[in-house]
């Protein structure tokens, strides 16, 4: 019997279901990227399970020819946790959105992150509720005018990555739907990570919140408004690569190269820092004062939750021996009643 796996292609991961996102939706690009990346992992496709909650993004499992579970609103991380803990052999991917993950499912999100369960979370952030037809979301900017906020929203938005870092995430990244190469590289890195891999994907909803990210995705703005994090490299950006990010005391600042500063003054990015402080500072870089960073903010090693659970069980079996039904039931203070009714201990 050959132990070699058949070589899988993108097509193997496409289900027979008609994809029904709105034409022009950023979700198509994400689907395409995931379908391109999974074959490269060299695992049989029955090992993959895509779990989702509710919302446009959460239709994702139907279009993947893997095992899939379209669950209920906000609960995908909890369901994925139960699955991964009981079946560590599976590759569990979660597709979720800004409403699903941070509004109704906020609690489950922070807890899956703090536990470091080995699941990959793809958070499609379009800063709007799409499936319910256009209400503001927990990542919408203040003053957002929507059907539910005709006079502008008042709530301060979540900074997705700060939230994840604050919750103790061990792998935190940001990428963009239309940056296919960067998206695929980021997915690959997530796939390799032990523990929870959290990726925020800026995703354009061309119906209810079109061009939400065009300030940094348009071809002519990308380099000036965006910054790509690369491990071991200085934080440099701009069309002419003439600007950078410097650490000034406890604050970050944008510097222009010239008389006062050069590239050597820039912060050299280290995604493996144990202390999440620097990753948090970077996550706080928002327009208009800063370019928006994409890339890997944090990638640190910590034992995965499911491995720790399995280790505890293994240890107890090793030290106590495998429990038997006899041990289970005939334990505690028992007494015997004989045929003649006599009671003995």
């Amino acid at each position: 019997m050959s132990t070699e796996l058949p070589v899988l292609t993108k097509k193997d991961f496409q289900s027979d279901q008609e994809v029904r996102w709105c034409p022009g939706c950023g979700d198509y690009a994400i689907l395409k990227s995931v379908q391109s990346v999974l074959p490269a992992l060299g695992l049989p496709k029955e090992k993959f399970v895509v779990v989702s909650g509710i919302g446009c993004s959460s239709r994702f499992p139907y279009y993947m020819d893997t095992f899939g579970f379209h669950t209920i609103h906000g609960r995908a991380p909890a369901i994925a946790t139960g699955l991964k803990v009981s079946r560590p052999d599976l590759e569990v991917w979660v597709a979720t959105g800004d409403g699903d993950a941070m509004s109704i499912g906020g609690n489950h999100l922070i807890h899956v992150l703090r536990r470091n369960v080995g699941v990959k979370i793809l958070l499609f952030n379009n800063r709007i509720y799409g499936l319910t037809k256009g209400q503001y979301s927990p990542t919408s900017e203040i003053g957002k005018r929507t059907k539910s906020t005709p006079f502008g929203s008042l709530d301060n938005p979540f900074n997705t990555l700060s939230l994840a870092i604050g919750a103790g995430a061990t792998f935190v990244a940001r990428t963009v739907d239309i940056f296919q190469k960067h998206l695929q590289e980021t997915l690959l890195r997530a796939a390799e990570h032990k523990g929870t891999a959290f990726i925020e994907i800026y995703q354009n909803c061309n119906i209810f919140n079109d061009k939400a990210f065009s300030y940094m995705t348009d071809k002519n703005l990308r380099e000036d408004q965006g910054l790509t994090l690369e491990h071991g490299k200085p934080l440099v950006f701009g069309k002419d690569r003439n600007r950078g990010i410097r650490l000034d005391g406890t604050q970050l600042e944008v510097i222009e190269f010239g008389n006062a500063y050069s590239e050597s003054d820039c912060l050299v990015w280290d995604e493996t820092l144990d202390n999440p402080g620097m990753a948090f500072l970077l996550a706080q870089m928002t327009p208009p004062d800063f370019p928006t960073p994409i890339g890997i903010f944090r990638s640190v090693k910590r034992p995965a939750y499911e491995d720790q659970i399995a280790a505890q069980i293994d240890h107890e079996i090793e030290t106590q021996g495998q429990g038997t039904l006899e041990d289970l039931i005939y334990s505690g203070e028992t007494w015997k009643v004989a045929e003649d009714g006599r009671v003995t201990a």
């Binding site: 289900s15 279901q17 049989p44 029955e46 090992k47 993959f48 399970v49 779990v51 499992p61 139907y62 993947m64 020819d65 095992f67 899939g68 579970f69 379209h70 669950t71 209920i72 609960r75 909890a78 369901i79 994925a80 946790t81 139960g82 699955l83 991964k84 803990v85 009981s86 079946r87 052999d89 599976l90 609690n107 489950h108 807890h111 659970i309 505890q312 069980i313 240890h315 107890e316 079996i317 030290t319 106590q320 495998q322 429990g323 039904l325 289970l328 039931i329 005939y330 334990s331 505690g332 203070e333 028992t334 007494w335 015997k336 009643v337 004989a338 045929e339 009714g341 009671v343 201990a345």
Partner: protein, 634 residues
Amino acid sequence: MTDATAKPPAKEAAQPSDPTKVVTERLEDVVVRFAGDSGDGMQLTGTQFTSTSAQLGNDLATLPDFPAEIRAPAGTLPGVSAFQVRIADYDIHTPGDAPDALVAMNPAALKKSLMDLKKNGILIINSDEFKAGNLKKAGYETNPLEDNSLDGYRVLTAGITKMTLAALREVDLDSRSKNRSKNFFALGMVYWLYSRPLDSSIEWARKKFAKKPEVAEANILALKAGYNFCDITQAFQTRYEIEPAKFPPGTYRNIMGNTALSLALVAASRRSGLPLFLGAYPITPASDILHELARFKNFGVTTFQAEDEIAAVCSAIGAAFGGALAVTTTSGPGLALKSEAINLGVMIELPLVICNVQRGGPSTGLPTKTEQSDLLQAMFGRNGESPVPIIALASPADAFDATLEACRIAIKYMVPVILLSDGYIANGSEPWRLPKIEDLPDLRTEFHTDPEGFLPYSRNPETLARPWAIPGTAGLEHRIGGLEKENLTGNVSYDADNHQLMTDLRAAKVERIANDIPELEVFGDQDAEILVLGWGSTLGAITGAVVEARKLGQKVARVHLRYINPFPRNLGDVLDRYRHVLIPEMNSGQLALLIRARYLKDVVSFSKVEGKPFFRHEISAKITEILGGNEDVH
């Protein structure tokens, strides 16, 4: 006697000619209540008395009653914690309506329990605590030890606190720690009164405090001091004996409902070959199931303390998808939070056991008090047409069998099952005749593996169960979810006819379980005028009342439901046979409503929600009332 099934005490010894000589009298049963402050260790004291009596072969039933607050202000009425236990030399069904003996460790405990004590009952009082401050906290204007208000009881006042400290003079502990042993002094007194040996509690203390030998020593000394105090002072003219009950041969242990339920889950895991996964969030009175199962790691049990009730059930659903025996445990408020996820379970048709240990509601309600008021929530508390099998536990020992049955149905029918327990069963205990391992049900199941013609929503023609196709199985990649499923393929479908079909199929699947469960067996008179119909923890009180009624010549029968959805097939026929159907429930008539709706039978609903189980005499009085007799016949 609290239960009229008991005969008057058989006096073995002649009346003493010498009034100073203690005589021993044989009793058939006795009800003892230990009451004190929640810091006084009354639950432990009661448990020890129970455990010792169990090992002597008595039948027994217990009723712990403790406050929701971990430490309510010391000495106050809300801070009173009590443990009632009834032991007998025959088959009993309840922890007794009224105590024969009451141990009151402080004025608040006396105030709260005295009204329940039988006339001429024994009262053991720790007089050291009857000081002005404590009396005031309990709302006494005068000291009941001095105002003759305890006339009519056999009172023994003893300076339990001071005597305990004196007995422990040589022990190397601070006085606060020594003070904590006073419950064992009281226990020693009660052991003397009811002729119990001390060895079991001594052994327990040695084991429990193996790492703190001075604490073990303090407890043992206090226990012996209490016993000897009664022995030397001849505190009572009479001491009592309760012979072993006549049990069928076998091995027994005393078991609490939550423990039996936990053991059954592990047993179900072993008998099915499926790893057990428990997703739970701590909630009274269900938390002990989580505690219990967390110990069983060497049985391959995974316990997951989730971030909330929703995550608890959701993690279980995820585990079920992966092929585990998936369980979540909760109480009423938690069941409400889980309802959306349970519905997901209904839609995706995977096995899931939801254990709901009911407590007083609505809202946070009465966390530590018992009630049966989640029946309709279990039945209907979800959106859409959402049939879920419901199984009810009837007693602590029954919890083992009923839980195995819930697992069997969940696995065989690929369906979420709600298992209803309540606080009374959860914390109460009784002797459990241990099953032979080989007699446990075979719960083995097979995952689907054949990709040829695989359809995730095809069905077993007998059970209508769909195949369990777990991730990792090549060729079975498929998607499930909460959107309506197309018949056979399981693809999303909004088709009108398909929705009707799937709704009918989900209902039919649950209905078919009726073909797979035993028909009801009625106990009592063939020509009974009244059928007492019960479910859950009312079993004991109903059985006691029916036994009593028949002794009085009343024509009564009883039947108890383990399966509430679906009902056993012959329930309609059974109901038709009786002129009156009486349904006692610890709610406002929830089973009665279901029975009336389903069978158009005008049942008599007898309900109460007082945070405690029915007394036997309450049901007896109701039976008499229906029969048109004198209510006082009991």
